[in-house]
């Protein structure tokens, strides 16, 4: 049973436009959410996170939105740049749990 779902395996966006990556979760106990970025042949790197007590967190061009009632979060990248092309993983955690639960990733391609 996949508790964190990224239903779009790929997304293409024009440079300068907004990229919106989506993530749904089923476990209502999750109270912390993270986004990671992964380039080919490298490990995931942390991008941005949000606690369940917030509905928005912003860091430069990256904003994460959390809708707890819908069990949905999204990552907005504005403006998108070619260097943003990578696989983006959504992850969730119950604070007391031992591990992060990851989605299957979305390949973002930003076209110049």
């Amino acid at each position: 049973d996949q508790q964190v779902k990224q239903n779009s395996p790929s997304l293409s966006v024009q440079e300068g436009r907004i990229s919106i990556l989506n993530c749904d979760y089923t476990n209502s106990m999750f109270d912390y959410f993270l986004w990671y970025k992964k380039y080919p042949a490298e490990g995931p790197t942390f991008l941005i996170s949000i606690s369940s007590i917030k509905d928005k967190n912003e860091d430069g061009r990256f904003t994460v939105f959390l809708n707890k009632s819908a069990k949905h979060l999204s990552l907005h990248i504005v403006p998108s740049q070619p260097g943003d092309s990578a696989v983006y993983f959504c992850a969730a955690k119950v604070t007391s749990a031992r591990q992060l639960t990851f989605g299957s990733g979305t390949q973002l391609t930003v076209l110049p």
Partner: protein
Amino acid sequence: EADIYQTPRYLVIGTGKKITLECSQTMGHDKMYWYQQDPGMELHLIHYSYGVNSTEKGDLSSESTVSRIRTEHFPLTLESARPSHTSQYLCASSAPGTTMGYTFGSGTRLTVV
């Protein structure tokens, strides 16, 4: 510079061979993890450790084993590699109370032929 290192980056090996994937971190983190990832799939936890001499299996069943004799070192061993072990193996570590989740190594891409 504090970081987490995995070797080798790529490994092609024959069926039946014993292999050890190395993972070391210089950040003094107590918690370390091994994840397995196939292309287009989610990362699955296969092993984790809370500290020296503490190891447990993750949610995804794996024939690999791990050891944690030193804080900085968390190697993964496959006694007899099989083609079904072909995958990417990612090592990670974390510090208590961090909001950044895990710090990942660059991974080992294992191919068993």
